[in-house]
Symmetry: C2
Subunit: 438 residues, 2 copies
């Protein structure tokens, strides 16, 4: 049953081979984009009508809608609903080729990146490699606690939290049972606030029905923030509303609480206080993925690569860095590591590549803040858009509409909306499975 | 923030404690059921109105609808859609308590089971521990190939199959590329037939759109069957229809093909032939879970525990064994290891416990074959019900209705049906994520 061999492969990334031209010659320049997150994907789409060949590289085969990852961690959504295969997203774009492989290095002189499957040559390179959790050197936290940046981590949190309830039901010692049922979320940014709120609602609205013998007073959800404010970019009125709503949803918010150590059983604070807790979720910081340090490019704070206002790397006019991996100041402060920055930078980088090809001068990046949103649970959110702040049910509706619109793929939109509607009306969470033993 | 301690725990399974009475005294006998599969769950429900306290024990927190597991493995359904938390299923049944723990042994003299979290005392015991993949001593197969009995295995198959296509796109060597794209399914029972059909459709209807450069002639799906027939329990006309449909769906069906070894790269057949393939899915046999061998009870073929026609274990009148774990002959042959047997045995075991308590004589188990069904893909199935066989679209509709009805939980029914409708009309599969690197 052997078949005739017709290799239609581009030879750029042939396994274990020496560098070869990135494509069967089309005469068009090749733009390699590393990373299929918000920035990389948007850049690929922005180059849709540009006479270039785009090679998009990611170590995962899917684009993840990270803003809803905390809902996977709290059993509200299924991972498949907030992720979509890159190939499916770009199916109709003829000038793009996807490669699932891990990028390991950069050879700027040879104009190629190094991947686990061989070198890939580029004429222009867009690095959109994204961010990872920043533990600020606390080695014990990633060992015993959980970050929240990808699907496996979200599933691990879900398994761990649900398992804690099962263990608590088998635990005779009241001290140990309370430690099983104490959930500490670290970091008062949007991720920490949304995680703490969703976790408390999972427990108070859903799990109490599953565990009729559970004494809900044994359960604690804490949100630890090192400074004196939640959601630091929002005005004081909204910050206060967020804290108040969290309290109403039974989240103990602690300000000025800096984590010094965690051994899996106790959270040690800088103040010397120790909190017995079997679960610690770290949402206190982000930095550029560690790959940026291995590319031979200069890096600034948080491992981010400093870029010119035109988003290219000084001294490397063919290399653009966008999103969390790029360091650029605006108004005296570094741009935040958030999706809107990455999306807008992608447009600018694509535009500047078009201009380079056309022999025009580049444009400078100009960030337009679309506002910020954080949901705290049922009917509760805070929103700050174009200088207008609002809270409660209206903010929650805005949050919902914005997230459904931004979610990629019509099917994902439909299924997430159905899931949310179901959970809203029936006080349920579909994904309460413990899919692995710890 | 310490809370008053109010322990409402039953003391049966306190961690690391000496055996204690299984419940705060209710004066009612305790029925311990091990396993929340089809048999165990049905038994718990059948005892709903019986004056007993039921303790249901499983190492997972969910009931899995195994007949659709192959659809998770082929990216059609999400695991959350075919599983449901046991606590959610039994929420409204007051006389049942769920314990998530692993059973490790049995002490029939002390009338208690041994679990990872301590002993659990019973007055009556129902062992519904289920089956596991039978590799017939071929050690290399589980090491390099895949079984298909639980969610993690299904996810591993999904990841592996999708990853094979990504690897194939990066592979220059045509021989190695074809090995990446050769998928061998072993076993011509319902699971193997359904798996091979679904895999071929995933590739031919969906993945070809994701991989426009893929030469579909490089892709092979083989179904190896050691005997000369598929779906052995069906009449010849239906067996032939199944084989023909599989061929039409580009599955190479091989009869008389017995696997002798597998090293992850080549499937060696007993005939000496070797098939280069990076994927082998084993659906060729089932045996009782290995726990049955550690309980001190006698075991028959496939590790099954011989039971009396009344389903209790000879010499142990308080212990009932049901489902895949039970060995009982009917009409000269052992009862098959299938869901209908487990469900019907559960009813009989529950009935006999009721009769024991009421001082009545037990009833004997009498298997009523509800017929059998296997789907091969879009609009194609074979069904044999009450002596009537049918194929094609009508059989496929019957298959669909029967599976939706049997799926536990209204939400699961709705979401599976929506998923199927979507995939049917749009030639899609939602769950095409590679969620871990191999």
């Amino acid at each position: 049953m052997t078949q005739p061999v017709t290799s239609t492969e581009p030879r750029a990334v042939l396994r274990g081979q020496a560098p070869v031209p990135s494509r069967p010659a089309t005469g068009r320049p090749t733009v390699v984009i590393v990373g299929a997150g918000f920035g990389g994907l948007r850049a690929a789409r922005a180059l849709r009508k540009t006479p270039v060949d785009v090679v998009l590289v990611d170590r995962h085969n899917y684009h993840l809608f990270q803003p809803l990852l905390y809902q996977v961690a709290t059993a509200g959504l299924e991972p498949e609903q907030i992720a979509r295969p890159v190939r499916a997203i770009l199916r109709r774009q003829a000038n793009v080729e996807f490669r699932m492989t891990e990028v390991t290095g950069l050879d700027p002189a040879g104009k190629r990146i190094v991947s686990a499957d061989g070198p890939i040559a580029y004429d222009y390179l867009i690095l959109a490699v994204g961010g990872q959790t920043n533990y600020f050197g606390l080695e014990s936290v990633p060992r015993h606690g959980f970050g929240l940046k990808d699907i496996p981590e979200a599933i691990r949190i879900r398994n761990h939290v649900l398992h804690a309830f099962e263990r608590a039901m088998l635990e005779a010692d009241p001290e140990r049972r309370r430690a099983e049922l104490t959930f500490v979320v670290v970091g008062g940014g949007p991720t920490g606030v949304e995680m703490a709120g969703a976790l408390s609602e999972l427990i108070r609205l859903v799990l109490v029905k599953d565990y009729p013998r559970l004494n809900v007073k044994d359960v604690r959800v804490l949100l630890l923030e090192a400074t004196d404010r939640l959601l630091a970019t929002m005005p004081a009125r909204l910050r206060d509303a967020a804290a108040e709503t969290l309290w109403r949803k039974h989240v103990e918010v602690r300000f000025g609480a800096t984590v010094a150590d965690y051994d899996g059983g106790r959270v040690l604070l800088k103040s010397g206080e120790s909190i017995p807790a079997r679960t610690l979720i770290w949402a206190a910081g982000v930095k550029a993925v560690s790959l940026t340090g291995r590319l031979g490019l200069p890096t600034a704070q948080q491992g981010r690569v400093p870029v010119a206002p035109t988003l290219d790397v000084p001294g490397h006019p063919d290399i653009y860095v966008i999103g969390d991996a790029a360091y650029l100041e605006a108004g005296g402060a570094p741009l935040p590591m958030m999706a809107p920055v990455a999306l807008q930078m992608a447009e600018t980088a694509a535009e500047n590549i078009r201009r380079r090809i056309a022999g025009k001068p580049p444009v400078e990046f100009n960030y337009r803040d679309p506002g910020s949103l954080a949901t705290i649970g049922r009917n509760a959110a805070v929103a700050y858009i174009r200088g207008i702040g609002f809270t409660g049910f209206p903010a929650w509706v805005v949050w919902l509409v914005v997230h459904i619109i931004q979610l990629i793929g019509f099917r994902n939109k439909v299924f997430v909306l159905l899931n949310w509607a179901w959970d809203y009306f029936f006080y349920e969470r579909a994904a309460r499975l413990i899919t692995s033993m710890e």
